[in-house]
């Protein structure tokens, strides 16, 4: 599904170059569940956005589903995101003025899907996250867990093969978080490749494999079941 070769990404922060990713090589087979861990500023978000074709590496190669995407134009990357990638964010990123149904509909609006099909898919997607009764609620009328479930419905409504989650439970209480993680596991079981960025060892433990990033370098790879605490993971 994903193959990274010598991916480098450097950006300027306050005049200083920050090496967010340094020679990252990685292979993620289709259907795998990967967690990316690392301290703040280790480059894990940059890696996630690079995987999501929102950020472009300065050098290196990125094959997504057999296609080299690192050098694609903005237009082409947009198309890749539209059809192959779903995003879930820590802060939900719902458009506040739109209802749950309209938020879920958004990716299909930009993809130009016909209205009737959109309606059908919105209902199915919200049903799959158990929110059929919240179609016309705006985000401020929903709880945090419900918001993230709407966001998850939006991320999956285009049936992407790759789902990327950036701290999906970071703003949720334990039970809402568990609900989201169960839904993610469920999607992964159904064949969606899942990459989750997290601080939380209990989230990482659910992954088949954990990649640990420190200062832009991949320092460790281990099975999810072997994750104990964060402190020993990041130790050099």
């Amino acid at each position: 599904m994903i193959r990274l070769e010598k991916i480098c990404r450097t950006y300027q922060l306050g005049g200083q170059p920050v090496h967010a990713l340094v020679d990252v090589d990685e292979h993620v087979p289709a259907g795998e569940h990967v967690a990316i861990m690392g301290p703040s500023g280790s480059g894990k978000s940059t890696l996630l956005y690079t995987l999501g074709c929102l950020d472009r590496p300065d050098s290196g190669s990125y094959w997504l589903a057999g296609r080299e995407v690192a050098r694609l134009s903005d237009e082409e990357l947009t198309d890749v995101r539209r059809h192959h990638i779903g995003f879930v964010f820590q802060s939900f990123h719902l458009v506040p003025r739109l209802t749950a149904a309209e938020n879920v509909e958004l990716p299909m609006v930009f993809a130009g899907l016909p209205r009737a099909e959109r309606r059908e898919r919105v209902e199915a997607a919200l049903a799959s996250v158990d929110l059929s009764d919240r179609l016309d609620h705006r985000p401020d009328q929903l709880s945090g867990g419900e918001r993230q479930r709407v966001a998850l419905a939006r991320a999956t409504v285009m049936q992407p093969r790759l789902l990327l989650a950036d701290e999906p439970t970071g703003n949720l209480d334990t039970s809402s978080g568990r609900q989201i993680l169960d839904l993610l596991d469920h999607l992964n079981d159904a064949g969606t490749t899942l990459v989750v960025v997290t601080h939380d060892p209990s989230v990482a433990r659910r992954a088949g494999r954990v990649i640990v990033l420190v200062d832009g370098h991949v320092v460790r790879r281990l099975p999810g079941g072997e994750v104990m605490g964060a402190a020993d993971l990041f130790a050099p």
């Binding site: 950020d55 947009t78 995101r81 059809h83 995003f87 003025r97 739109l98 609006v109």
Partner: protein, 402 residues
């Protein structure tokens, strides 16, 4: 993304910020309303002037002795130009069927007095036809009698102001004998108020039979001849006939000038139309100010919705789609502002016409079209910069922005 979706999305985001939307609309509303109302005012003034001329009589020819253009050798052969005479006037009346009425005119100034009151007045000598040709009306008594052209009876019609000054305190002038110059004349009528027209204050004149005036001022020739042409007859053709007849009567020399109202009206109309255009253009400047208002609002919107833009990019919106979304919002803003401004402009014109019924104010079609097109164009133009900024945002930075 279909047009329908785009429209709904843009409308939704505008609706999300009612006050801001309303304020930026206001600028556009004022701009368009100003263009519409001011051009309507200019157009109203133009029509008012034309109507004023029309009230004098549009099918009027004015025959003036002498040639205004310089032609041929000066004075070597012909000597003095022939003068206009009463017989010329009568010939015009009798020999050209297109002519409805002819009013010969002699003017001079003299003293008018009644008892101890005395003032200087303009004396107009003419005939009964003058009343209709110049669209006069008599407030009291009657106008000059339909007597023979050649009879100079000692009667006078007073202009309103003259009557008021010679007969203060509501004294009845009709039937009284006044003195004009050395002549005793009986007042037979008083004119209704009229004001200044064609450079002559008709409230400040006395009108006597043309022959009387010629005797008073010892003249043999006329100052000019007013010719009223039948409504159906062509003004230009009649003008040529008048010129030909008078040339025939004046030993073959064309020594008169015939003026028409048309030329005069056209000149005034042109001047006022240019003025309307200028006023409209000034008002249009306010439209560009409104455009800057829209730009401001859109820039704020882009800054405020940076995270939303990042999200849109993440879920599969292309740069061009983001650009179009924001341009659509700007276009909607300006179009709505334009239409509202049109309504406000129209309303203010309606109120104006209620207050000044004499002013036929209505906006010219070109001004309405230009105001709408301009408001729309200005919206797009000034919406472009914010929309481009939105489209060029780095999606990752936009997503994580505060």
């Amino acid at each position: 993304m279909t047009f329908n979706d785009l429209f709904r999305f843009a409308l939704g985001s505008l609706g999300g910020h009612r006050l801001r939307t309303a304020l930026s609309l206001l600028g556009m509303v004022i701009g368009v309303a100003a263009v519409v109302a001011l051009t309507a005012l200019g157009e109203g003034a133009r029509r008012y002037v034309i109507e004023q001329f029309a009230s004098i009589g549009t099918n009027l020819l004015i025959v003036v002795p002498g040639k205004t253009e310089t032609t041929g050798l000066p004075g070597m052969v012909g000597g003095m130009p022939n003068e206009l005479t009463l017989l010329d006037a009568r010939a015009l009346d009798r020999q050209i069927p297109e002519i409805d009425k002819v009013a010969p005119l002699v003017v001079g100034t003299d003293d008018a007095s009644f008892g101890a009151r005395r003032r200087q007045v303009a004396v107009v000598g003419s005939t009964w036809e003058f009343e209709e040709v110049r669209k006069l009306s008599v407030a009291r008594g009657e106008f000059l009698p339909k007597a023979d052209l050649q009879r100079g009876r000692p009667v006078v019609v007073l202009g309103l102001k003259v009557a008021q000054e010679l007969f203060p305190g509501g004294e009845e002038p009709v039937g009284r004998i006044v003195r004009i110059g050395g002549w005793r004349m009986r007042v037979i009528g008083v004119l209704a108020p009229r004001g200044v027209q064609l450079g002559m204050n008709l409230d400040d004149v006395v009108i006597v039979p043309v022959v009387t005036a010629m005797k008073m001022f010892d003249r043999r020739s006329l100052f000019r001849i007013f010719v009223q042409v039948h409504g159906s007859a062509g003004l230009e053709a009649t003008k040529q006939k008048v010129l030909r007849l008078l040339a025939e009567r004046h030993d073959g020399t064309e020594d008169v000038t015939v003026l028409t109202q048309d030329a005069l009206v056209a000149t005034f109309s042109q001047i006022l139309a240019a003025l309307t255009l200028a006023v409209g253009a000034i008002a249009a400047i306010s439209l560009s100010v409104a455009g800057i208002g829209i730009m401001n609002v859109m820039l704020v919107a882009v800054a405020e919705r940076t995270r939303e833009i990042g999200l849109l990019r993440a879920v599969g919106a292309g740069r061009r789609q983001v650009l179009v979304v924001f341009l659509t919002e700007a276009a909607l803003l300006s179009a709505a502002g334009g239409l509202l401004g049109l309504a406000v402009g129209w309303l203010s014109i309606e109120i104006l016409v209620q207050v000044f019924p004499a002013l036929p104010a209505s906006p010219p079609v070109w001004a309405v079209g230009a105001a709408l097109a301009l408001s729309f164009g200005v919206g797009l133009l000034f919406g472009w910069l914010p929309a481009r900024r939105a489209a060029r945002l780095d999606p990752v930075l936009a997503l994580v922005s505060r």
